[in-house]
Symmetry: C2
Subunit: 349 residues, 2 copies
């Protein structure tokens, strides 16, 4: 059997106009400017539209209005050996926010690194999307500059450093997060608090380390130790081992990611330290894994639904020509306290 599927079936605007006994412009107005129609006419046209199941062609509409009403987003392959599977939740939040503003999300993934930037260009130049949401911005990222160059509207999850124009961004205040983690640990009686961080290349990594350092200063405490590692469990285990072998040993570790926190779990286990009792651990990102491990991991949760909304609000604002101030927004993560920082049976103060 060789059934052919013509892209769009259904009636078109002319058909609706014919059945309703009006001109096709009137049908268009019924959809796009209903206030221009006499109530009786509007109701009649609406009825015919419903009966025929008419829906305007997206292609024709996009051609005419020069707006695809689609936003491009690049999905990364999930990094292996990493716990922070946030992309899923982020994608859902973004899709939901986009639809609330009348946009759909167009997903793409670079075939190889060579055509990564090319694909952004391709999508904007063919008019497949009206703009982009960027995530995973890091200091050497070429994308902002290149997108600016091709006049492609975009908003980024994560601050763009060295931005000259009125960049649009939404970010989570990592320093505030790790600061809250330290305060929580201090309230639990901890005095030797170490930090297990990422290499200094990443800006979230730097921010999170800064928050820890500043909170300690505020609390008039000395750093309980500092180690850095790539964001994998194995590397985290090695770095955490160094921290746990310090004398005196820290009683608590704030990790820059959940993945590193789990590395700390492994290092603690090797030394027979019971987490939540002899050692408190706090992660960052509140990944799905966090509540599944033993003991459940205290972690900092990013407000993803709100992030999605604010990203889309900025982008659609720019797309519709009304740029709003402020163009950047810093949101607070929330500390989700679990047994890794408060042993079962004890209450946080």
């Amino acid at each position: 059997m060789t059934t052919s599927y013509p892209g769009q079936s259904g009636p078109n605007i002319v058909e609706v106009a014919r059945v309703a006994g009006v001109s096709r412009q009137t049908v268009s107005n019924a959809l796009n400017a209903p206030e221009r129609l006499r109530p009786a006419t509007l109701e009649h046209v609406q009825k015919v539209i419903d009966e025929l199941g008419y829906r305007p062609s997206q292609a024709a509409r996009a051609l005419r209005t020069r707006a695809a009403r689609q936003i491009g987003y690049r999905v990364d392959p999930e990094r292996p050996h990493s716990a922070s599977a946030l992309q899923d939740q982020f994608l859902h939040a973004l899709a939901e926010a986009a639809q609330a503003d009348g946009y759909f999300l167009l997903l793409f993934t670079p075939r190889d690194t060579a055509d990564e930037l090319a694909t952004y260009g391709e999508l904007i130049r063919t008019g497949s999307v009206d703009g982009f949401v960027l995530s995973g911005i890091d200091p050497g990222d070429e994308r902002p500059e290149r997108l600016l160059g091709m006049k492609a509207p975009f908003v980024s999850f994560g601050r763009v450093d060295g931005g000259d124009g009125p960049q649009l961004w939404v970010d989570v205040d990592g320093a505030s997060g790790t600061g809250a983690a330290v305060d929580h640990l201090v309230s639990q009686g901890h005095r030797r608090i170490a930090f297990l961080g990422m290499p200094d290349r990443s800006s979230p990594g730097r921010e999170r380390a800064r928050g820890w350092r500043e909170a300690l200063a505020r609390q008039r405490l000395q750093p309980g130790g500092l180690a850095c590692a790539e964001d994998t469990v194995a590397a985290g285990t090695r770095a955490a081992s160094a921290l746990l072998d310090l004398v005196p040993r820290p009683t608590a570790v704030v990790a820059a990611t959940d993945t590193l926190a789990l590395g700390c779990y492994a290092a603690a286990r090797e030394r027979g330290l019971r987490i939540g009792h002899e050692l408190a651990v706090i992660g960052f990102d509140d990944s799905p894994t966090a509540e599944l491990v033993d003991p459940p991991l205290t972690s900092l949760r990013q407000p993803l639904p709100l992030i999605g909304q604010e990203l889309m609000r900025r982008l659609t604002g720019r797309l519709s020509g009304r740029d709003q101030v402020p163009s950047g927004l810093l949101l607070e993560p929330r500390l989700i306290v679990r047994a890794s920082s408060v042993p079962f049976g004890r209450q946080p103060v």
Copy 2:
């Protein structure tokens, strides 16, 4: 500043034709039927296209060809308390496969359950997408029937039961997976092998239970116990507790999902049973969490990249009018052996 962003800028086909000194049809042919052009002409036109950075308008093309070259996919909110965050990897596999076939993925998420089916209709009727990929099919699922009714091409990840037409689907053989898990456990010396399953509503759940049962029969072993629970860690812990309190106690548990397997971890811990030593546990899905827990969890991995390719191959085949046989495909999961079924220091036979 109120910069307006007209959707598509850049030159159009007429501009290219003018600069190249040819008709606009020749430019179109250079892109769509290069073999019709004299090599010299083709090269010249190509050069002008590159210089001007011309890319054909997707809207115009879609309008003319009646094909959006986009595939719709619904993203679910990630269920909390569940480990199996496969959607990410699946989405990436799908996006990659789609692009290889010249399509992009259009993401959407129902605002509420009421407009879930409406959105499928909306997307196909406006011509925003040419077809859909469905996942998470369950027995009572209305989508296949409704999509058939609106003549929307689709392919599903998971078999559609009660399908009358030549349905397109790709699925993973759950029974074969749990069967392989049982065989592996037997080769490790286990004789009392229990199953921790999902409620019988879900077809993957039934298949996975069947594979366990049949493998035991093949190995001439009695079931070591059977319990069912909703797919959360908490429910899994309760159900697994019942299994571990059996006399005689099973020495191995095959779980229908990684989430349930982690529930089994918790139940074992409560009883002081060391996993990998006194109790073997095997999960299903090879979620990111599997390799991060202690001990790392043996699990069955679905061949997601291949699944994505085969899904897209079927769908694009139908879209282009050449339906191929067979329309269904059953793929094998692969057992990833980790320490939860082979204690460190021991080798699988």
